[in-house]
């Protein structure tokens, strides 16, 4: 009704109606939106502030301003746990499982999208169905399997199960069907390129942007993985960051400055990555969900 009215009216009048619609309703909407945004930021702000204070300040007063104990907290932490080792472990585990699951995912997706072999539909439906099964179901069997294989407390126990990621297959298959015409593959065949060469040199580069978007998401998922490493790894120097940070609480529960700093170190990189890639991250979540 408003838009129809506005179209017939001179600009001055339009402006007035705009002003009117900018009334209580809109102010209320913005008020709610901004409050919610503040609630989203405050815990992380407090985390940063508290990581710069010493125990005495944290235990006695509420403060909204940074203190001077960041370096002391850091040295205190560094003398007790090697958080950078946890960082490196997380990077290694998340990095390798992301690369592996993306490459295998792309291979599988390409196989399903471009070859009409027998049992294709059945196998693909089976693959989709596995996405509905909660991972904890496999946890105890996995523990037994890796204990038999002698792979408990090794990175392989975390990386191998993550390599077969059904969601990645599903996601990349949608992309291949939308963006890689059969003609490209056929012309490569006419030029007598092998099937895997065609995949590695022609298809994979075209998939680049989609895989990059998915890669960020897979990486974050793997980085945040907590239960599997908690169960399958035992050595303090092999723990990824989330497990290390959680255990620090048990060991140094009264050392608040250290705890806040530990949490901060585990979250700040995510804040940085997110502020660079927020559009892609949100986009890849949305894309995956709607196609599902």
């Amino acid at each position: 009704m408003q838009s129809a009215k506005m179209a017939d009216q001179p600009i001055a009048v339009q402006k007035q109606t705009n002003m009117k619609s900018m009334t209580i309703g809109k102010i209320l909407v913005y008020f709610i939106l901004v409050s919610l945004a503040i609630i989203c930021i405050i815990p992380f702000y407090l985390m940063l502030i508290y990581s710069t204070h010493n125990n005495a300040t944290i235990a006695s007063t509420f403060t909204f301003l940074p203190g001077q104990f960041l370096v002391d907290n850091y040295l205190n932490m560094a003398s007790k746990i090697n958080i950078w080792k946890g960082f490196a472990n997380s990077f290694f585990i998340a990095g390798t499982s992301t690369v592996l699951s993306l490459y295998i995912g792309a291979l599988t997706a390409y196989g399903f999208a471009k070859y009409k072999f027998k049992g294709r539909t059945g196998l693909f439906l089976f693959l989709l169905a596995t996405m509905m099964v909660p991972g904890q179901l496999a946890l105890i069997g996995m523990y037994r399997l890796f204990s038999t294989l002698g792979l408990l407390d090794s990175y392989l126990a975390i990386i191998l199960p993550a390599a077969a990621n059904a969601f990645n297959v599903f996601f990349i298959k949608q992309f291949i069907e939308g963006s890689i015409p059969d003609e490209i593959i056929e012309s490569a065949r006419v030029d007598s390129a092998g099937e895997f060469r065609t995949f590695n040199q022609i298809v994979l580069p075209i998939l680049g942007p989609a895989i990059a978007a998915l890669g960020i998401f897979t990486f974050i998922g793997s980085w945040n993985n907590f239960l599997t490493p908690l169960v399958l790894l035992f050595s303090l120097d092999k723990y990824p960051l989330p497990v290390l940070v959680a255990l620090v609480q048990g060991y140094y529960g009264m050392d608040y400055g250290l705890l806040y700093l530990g949490v901060a170190i585990s979250i700040v990189p995510i804040i940085i990555v997110f502020s660079i890639f927020s559009k892609q991250i949100i986009g890849s979540v949305a894309l995956g969900a709607v196609k599902g």
């Binding site: 919610l36 509905m132 496999a138 105890i140 037994r144 959680a246």
Partner: protein, 296 residues
């Protein structure tokens, strides 16, 4: 002959083989092995001893199993209802092209979703700490309370905190999924309704909600699967203990305790499969409920 040489369909098997090999070994086999272990007693050292349905009978008579199941469903229910409704309304608001700062709001609301759940649980635990927590100091300073409140001593409050963390982490995520769904709705539908004089709330209830029904179902089912698996946040929030009277001990925390702390792996596996059955039942119920609604 040329046509035959161009047919390469059997190559499909080579392409999908690595995935299925890895999946069979490290996905399916452990699940089936868990199923087998659920019929045995296994302490992690000696070989498993077959006990038939013994573990399942014991699980179904275990008060702690029901308690942790109640905790999980309570925590999930209290967080998921506001999460799915608030995020739907937010998506509707943020889908409005005239709204300023849409992208910033979206990014800020989504951000908690990618923060490590374990770190977030610990952070909330620190903020709610009785003596050192920022919240008590703030409330005392503002004059709302005289003495610090021992938040973490109250079972119901602990459950509500976990629910709040989940809401905090997932409302932005649901919002993004709703937004993606909204983008699939023909804008001319809304415009036509506007021209016919429909108010925003009518458009919301009579156009947006019915059109988004498949997405809403998707959200409910994925949130059931995710909800039963709640672990990281209550685990770090309560330092692994489950809080006062084990009020914030979820089903998966119970599974973890039984299997990996008490090394009763067979019993833990039986707990896992009982939970799986519950997930399937809940998903089927919500599927049928949304089906019935759309046909009526």
């Amino acid at each position: 002959m040329f046509a035959k040489s161009i047919r390469k369909d059997h190559y499909g098997y080579y392409f999908i083989a690595p995935f299925f090999l890895i999946f069979l070994m490290f996905g399916l086999y452990p699940i089936l092995y868990s199923l087998y272990l659920s019929f045995t007693n296994w302490d992690g050292i000696t070989s498993p001893e077959f006990v038939g349905l013994g573990n399942y009978i014991a699980v179904l008579q275990d008060p702690l199993f029901y308690k942790t199941l109640f905790n999980t469903l309570f925590i999930w229910g209290v967080s998921v209802v506001p999460q799915l409704t608030v995020s739907l309304v937010l998506a509707f608001i943020l889908n409005d092209k005239l709204l300023k700062g849409r992208d910033i709001f979206r990014a800020v609301y989504f951000f908690p979703n990618i923060v490590t759940a374990a770190s977030l649980g610990l952070l909330v635990s620190l903020i709610f700490d009785w003596q050192s927590g920022g919240l008590n100091h703030f409330l005392v300073q503002v004059g709302l309370i005289d003495d610090p409140i021992n938040w973490k001593d109250d079972p119901w409050f602990m459950r509500l905190i976990v629910s709040s963390i989940l809401f905090f982490q997932y409302f932005g995520y649901s919002m993004v999924i709703y937004l993606a769904g909204l983008q699939g709705i023909d804008p001319s539908l809304q415009e036509a309704a506007q021209i016919d004089g429909a108010e925003k709330k009518h458009i919301f209830f009579h156009i947006i909600v019915p059109m988004l029904r498949p997405i809403i179902l998707f959200q409910i089912i994925t949130s059931i699967i995710g909800g039963i698996q709640i672990f990281d946040q209550p685990f770090t929030l309560t330092n692994g203990s489950g809080g006062p009277d084990r009020a914030a001990m979820t089903s998966i925390m119970y599974l973890y305790n039984v299997a990996f702390q008490s090394t009763r792996f067979g019993y833990g596996a039986a707990v896992a499969f009982c939970l799986f059955v519950i997930i399937i039942l809940l998903s089927a119920v919500s599927f049928m409920m949304t089906k019935r609604k759309s046909s009526s």
